[in-house]
Amino acid sequence: MNIVTWLNLVDLLVCLVVIISAIGAAVHRNLLAATVFAGVVSLAISFLFLRLAAPDVAMTEAAIGAGLSTVIFLIAVRRTEEVEGKDQ
């Protein structure tokens, strides 16, 4: 196995992380956890951006998508409820 294949495998893995985290963000009843999952999605995607030869986008996604966005979400969660209601 050469390096390219390895990297491809890593990509696949990261993609899986993205999807799983996305599902986690969607279903986790704890909103803080869901927010963190969403942040992980962004972070993993910013890694994928790197792999897609897009360092600018990767940086931006990491700083804004994963960082700032998540922070705002966290603030919002703190200002409202942390746990999704039962029937929601």
């Binding site: 600018d56 940086m59 931006t60 700083a63 804004i64 700032l68 922070v71 705002i72 603030i75 200002r79």
Partner: protein, 233 residues
């Protein structure tokens, strides 16, 4: 019931969108892209083609984008303005360590952010990324010192003047080179890979960085303080 319909609809639309995957496969550059890649350096003198596009070729988009950010921050502030029935958050005093650490880290973070956007035309990164970094410094301050307000006056001036500067830079292009936001012909493009090169691009990117940084800072401030701290006016 509605949820079942929703799921079915999403699955179905997944199949519809799946048709698009073949389109997404690599194909040759179009004429426009070809120009960007082939002549981007010659046109703008910056080695980062993305920056060339963002600041020059499609600079008008970026101006709009900065406006969007400005607008959404204004909007959020407007939504969360006083008399909106929000409870004022009780300030939770941060620990001494956090406060001290925050103060110590703030300056380096801002400098780092500035570094990113100053080199935007050369290396990956630019105004947005640098701005975001600066905002994270502000966030740190906010975390540490919730009860102490940010330098709103300064932020406000930076916010306004950097945006105004962006438009002015565009107008400079209009006056000097006959086209809004023009780069070529306004300032010398300079030598490749120098800090001072690529004409107005670094200037604009710096302005963008300041603008984004201040906007995001205000946004964080608005979100954190919301009703506790009235919008600047």
């Amino acid at each position: 019931m509605k949820q079942i319909i929703s799921i079915i609809a999403i699955v179905t639309i997944g199949f519809v969108l799946w048709q698009l995957v073949p389109i997404a496969m690599p194909s040759g550059f179009g004429a426009v892209t070809h120009h960007y890649v082939a002549d981007g350096l010659k046109d703008n003198g910056g080695s980062n083609l993305v920056t060339s596009i963002v600041v020059n070729y499609r600079g008008f988009d970026t101006l709009g984008e900065v406006t969007v950010l400005f607008l959404s921050v204004s909007g959020a502030a407007f939504v969360l303005r006083r008399r909106s029935g929000l409870e004022v958050q009780e300030p939770v005093p941060a620990s001494e360590i956090v406060q001290t650490g925050a103060r110590m880290l703030f300056a380096p973070i801002v400098v780092f952010g500035a570094y990113i956007f100053v080199h935007g035309h050369l290396t990956p990164g630019g105004g947005f990324q640098g701005g975001a970094v600066i905002a994270s410094g502000v966030l740190l301050l906010l975390l540490a010192n919730r009860d102490r307000a940010l330098p709103h006056g300064l932020l406000s001036w930076v916010e306004s003047l950097s945006g105004f500067g962006f438009v002015l830079a565009g107008l400079a292009g209009l006056i000097v080179a006959g086209s809004f936001l023009a780069n070529k012909g306004v300032l010398p493009l300079g030598q490749w890979n120098r800090l001072v090169s690529a004409g107005v691009i670094p200037i604009i990117y710096i302005l963008i960085g300041l603008k984004v940084g201040s906007e995001l800072s205000v946004l964080l401030d608005v979100m954190v303080h919301a009703a506790g701290d009235e919008e600047a006016n």
